[in-house]
Amino acid sequence: MSLVARHLEASGIPTVIIGSALDIVEHCGVPRFVFSDFPLGNPCGHPWDKDMQTETVRLALHVLETATAPRTTVRSPFAWRANDPEWRERYNRVLPEDRERLLAIGDARRRSFGQAPRAKPPK
């Protein structure tokens, strides 16, 4: 998405991204970014919370209008659910007991893309 924003901006269309992967977006470098510090999947606000969604888009429009230089990042004032403080460690976590299960997922994925099976791990 960051690459699309860069292409549009370079072609004269001003852009603002609303997203949750701060490190990836800033690594790429984009003109304007509203950072929603939520689990990946709901950048515009909590599900079914119309007020939060409206205010998030309002913030994006404000950033669009007021940013004066590229790499402008503004953090949304909204937080993820207070009753789920563990969410930050959940996405793509790798636990020791998951090792065989994850390797099997990788094998299935490689098969689905017609790729060779993985190299055997060193003994």
Binding site: M1, S2, V4, R6, H7, L8, E9, G12, I13, P14, T15, V16, I17, I18, G19, S20, A21, D23, I24, H27, C28, G29, P31, P39, L40, G41, N42, P43, C44, G45, P47, W48, K50, Q53, T54, T56, V57, R58, L61, L64, E65, A67, P70, R71, W80, E86, R88, E89, R90, Y91, N92, R93, V94, L102, L103, G106, D107, R109, R110, R118
Partner: protein
């Protein structure tokens, strides 16, 4: 790395590297990195602008995918978006859900901002941007196609929302 409940943003690049290594991949993905970032100043206020919406989810009937399941740029009408969306992408399926379209394609939220005169108008179409592995396909095929469609719709600016 300690990012447990620390309030610090999740280190997604490191998490993703670790995860794919655990899946058995030996070559890390290299994310795009740029020193220069383009920037254009607005020619008019947002309240007088037509804005195009771009998301990463496609229609629920998966008509944005070819026979080999590869996604391509797809456009839908903001006046009649699909009833369901294909959100078969990388997001935190354990922590949340994507049952509410407005969390990733804020058509109704934008409508409320048009009603209160914060925003001029929405372009008639929203667009789905593929999120493939290939940065070359994104920059040489998909992004130019989205630009063409935005110009066709006379969009002055774009809001991009990434699942």
């Amino acid at each position: 790395m300690q990012d447990h409940d620390s309030g610090r943003p999740v280190p997604y690049m490191q998490r993703t590297r670790n995860y794919y290594r655990a899946l058995g991949y030996t070559k890390d993905y290299v994310w795009a990195r740029n020193d220069d970032v383009p920037f254009v100043h607005l020619a008019k206020p947002v309240s007088a602008m037509t804005v195009g919406l771009i998301c990463t989810a496609g229609p629920g009937d998966r008509s944005h995918r070819d026979k080999r399941n590869r996604p391509h740029v797809w456009s839908g009408l903001v006046a009649s978006p699909p009833d369901s969306f294909d959100t078969d992408l990388a997001w935190d399926k354990e922590s949340t859900h994507t049952d509410d379209r407005e969390t990733f394609l804020p058509i109704d939220a934008a409508g409320r901002l048009i009603a209160d005169r914060t925003l001029g108008a929405l372009a008639p179409r929203f667009h789905t941007a593929p999120t493939g592995y290939s940065q070359k396909k994104t920059t040489e095929r998909d992004a130019p196609e989205i630009l063409r469609r935005l110009k066709e719709d006379k969009a002055d600016a774009a809001i991009l929302t990434a699942l």
